[in-house]
Chain length 479, copies 2
Amino acid sequence: MFPNPKKIFIQGKIHPEIQVGMREISLNDKEIPSLKIYDTGDSSQAKPIRHAWPKPAGGLTQRQAAQKGIVTPEMEFAAIREGVDPETVLNELAEGRAVLPANKKHPECEPMIIGSKFLVKINANIGNSALGSSIEEEVEKMAYAVSLGADTVMDLSTGKNIHETREAILRKCPVPIGTVPIYQALERAGGNPDNLSWEIFRDTLIEQAEQGVDYFTIHAGLLKNCIPLALKRTTGIVSRGGSLMACWMQTNKQENFLYTHFGEICEILREYDIAVSLGDGLRPGCIADANDEAQFAELKTLGELTKIAWDLGVQVLIEGPGHVPLNKIKENMDLQQKLCHGAPFYTLGPLVTDIAPGYDHITSGIGAAVIGMLGTAMLCYVTPKEHLGLPSKQDVRTGVITYKLAAHAADIAKGNPQALLRDKALSRARFDFRWEDQFALSLDPETARTFHDGASNAEFCSMCGPDFCAMRNTRKIGE
Amino acid sequence: MFPNPKKIFIQGKIHPEIQVGMREISLNDKEIPSLKIYDTGDSSQAKPIRHAWPKPAGGLTQRQAAQKGIVTPEMEFAAIREGVDPETVLNELAEGRAVLPANKKHPECEPMIIGSKFLVKINANIGNSALGSSIEEEVEKMAYAVSLGADTVMDLSTGKNIHETREAILRKCPVPIGTVPIYQALERAGGNPDNLSWEIFRDTLIEQAEQGVDYFTIHAGLLKNCIPLALKRTTGIVSRGGSLMACWMQTNKQENFLYTHFGEICEILREYDIAVSLGDGLRPGCIADANDEAQFAELKTLGELTKIAWDLGVQVLIEGPGHVPLNKIKENMDLQQKLCHGAPFYTLGPLVTDIAPGYDHITSGIGAAVIGMLGTAMLCYVTPKEHLGLPSKQDVRTGVITYKLAAHAADIAKGNPQALLRDKALSRARFDFRWEDQFALSLDPETARTFHDGASNAEFCSMCGPDFCAMRNTRKIGE
């Protein structure tokens, strides 16, 4: 994927057993001779690295360890990746403003941190559906997404071989894996949401926890009394998990069992140190439904659940919309921070218009960059196939790169020095016509090189030709 | 391009000779049975429609007519397209907050209005370079861009047959055409910027004015004393026109002749009613140079020139950046409005990061949507080939659709009722699984249909399959 990749390793100081991989890019630039880039390991070489690391006594979660002032190997690893000191990671974890998802049973995971004080992260969704894909294809999509820079991967399989697909993915995966356990619970319930139950869900949760899933999306905030609000909408409920729970509540005339059993769920999660990602079952599925009563009623409940999880030692992410017009994005961010006590926000897009199916990586990339700038910690990618079909490998590529650039734009807007330096290095290469340096610094070197139709040493490109190249002219003036 | 296009025409009331074309989309929806969409005519059927329309006495420009309270056919035409009354168009033109670019010698042009009170417009750049393309290819790109929804087209040809290419484009083009006359002036100067002169430029201007160009980008605001500021930058001058003038000033040790002769330029423009688009020769070409002293010094000069042009009856657009991080976009918009007395802003992007060559339609689409929301009147598209090569026809498509969605996202954020209705109609179709209605309402029906891999009457798609379709589940609950 990247030209002449040079992998370097930085050793831990507190924990010398950790070795944090980085990609080093050498440049023909006196001012910036090289750049170290945050880089996840190759999934084909995934190893259970965390087996050999010391664990905090008493089976503490990262949150609990942070609250006790213990810098775990995971915290130091994440701190080195971010270029911050371990205390920053520890403090943000202790306050709940960040999460470090790392199931004790996923030793292949290279620890990373998700919070508004750190680099904005992106998640790539993969997974089969009843209508397509195989285990091999899904493992390949995961590896591909990670190689392109996905920070976490969610396996959203709803088709055949859910358990085996997840197992194959986890054992190869150097980034945290998230799932939505209700999907597999539905399989166990024979495909009929009316037959779901707490017991089925609990067993599914434990099964997935044992495999090593690092965070679970759980739609515990969608309460029975919100269903009428959702039915008034233009597009109702557009969350798969949310709609399943709504079906179950409507038929069984009971409160959401994910809500009534939330304490028990957290106890299971604490055992493994799995983060809970509180799902937004009532996220708006269109511009007309954005920021409505249903959405914000659920968000308020997510805030209550955040406190319960925190008190039980569990790390918390809050999921967010959806479809939201540009002028209503800030209200989402502000309310989420207020109602959810500063827990990190993890949003899908948001998509800023409904009318561009086939281009929803872009409609959502716009919203993602803006909400990232405002403080969202992780952006869930959207591919060009959104609303239309299951993403292919090429769609995964387009989705990941679009979200990497959106997250990076947010980092730039937040003034992250690493991010600013990379832009500067690339622009210096551009001005000097160092095409290979420019490609090496770009998010997708292969595509950039393919699109460049000039010679690699030419002091212009076909867009302007030699006489009209402004950079070339500027250099002449300067000489 | 669009399925079952039904063209309807709305007759003028003040000027019954005008017939404003719209695309009517019929829907299987009781609440929204049909929708009229702003739609430019097919360029293969371009006719000199404006020949038969009355002209204001005394050869007034649209600005001058508006200031005298005269509603021209062009104003009424634009008002009908926007769904506003003609007085709104007249007032915005009179105050200089909008422009209606329509050279008296471009009768094929369907009048349209550019201003922050109206729908956000997009421009598509076409044109050959010394390294490629032909007259036929460029006419085809223009027709293609217009069919996809480009509101204006700039012919930026810098290669062979500049005059003939422009003539072929103009006679087929139902949207305003913009050019950067200094490009052809350079050709006349034998390709050497040092040999440029006011006389060569003036002759070029008149030649293009006679052909019917509707607006000219003129880099009159880049003054001699700004060159040292630009040379300190990471990427210097990235405007082609700006760099040519800087070369000329540096060699000839004289002030920019576009500045010293600006009054004479305006007198020529007034004759034809050509709008001046004041070029930003010092736009930042990278994140590191955004909002710097050079950029804002030029913007201040553009504000002075705006007053000169207005006083001479000439309509004015102000061009803007460039590369700007998300957190610095608002300052650009605010300063432009203040320094340029409310004249409409016409921006290239801005690109919110430098590190995604190959994806700069997206990095710039993000900035474009945001600056559009803040009040920018027209967005100049950027294609995936930006920084790398001359755009192909497919790149034109990607660029136009990306910018249509960015402009639409801005319209939505500004609360435009037409824009909101289209999103609602599409989302209602989505919820009802009316796939054909959904495609017909989308910005690129062909691509959306290609990506949809299910049956056209299926109540799900391959993304989730039938059991996991949230919309299907919601409908069940509602029943």
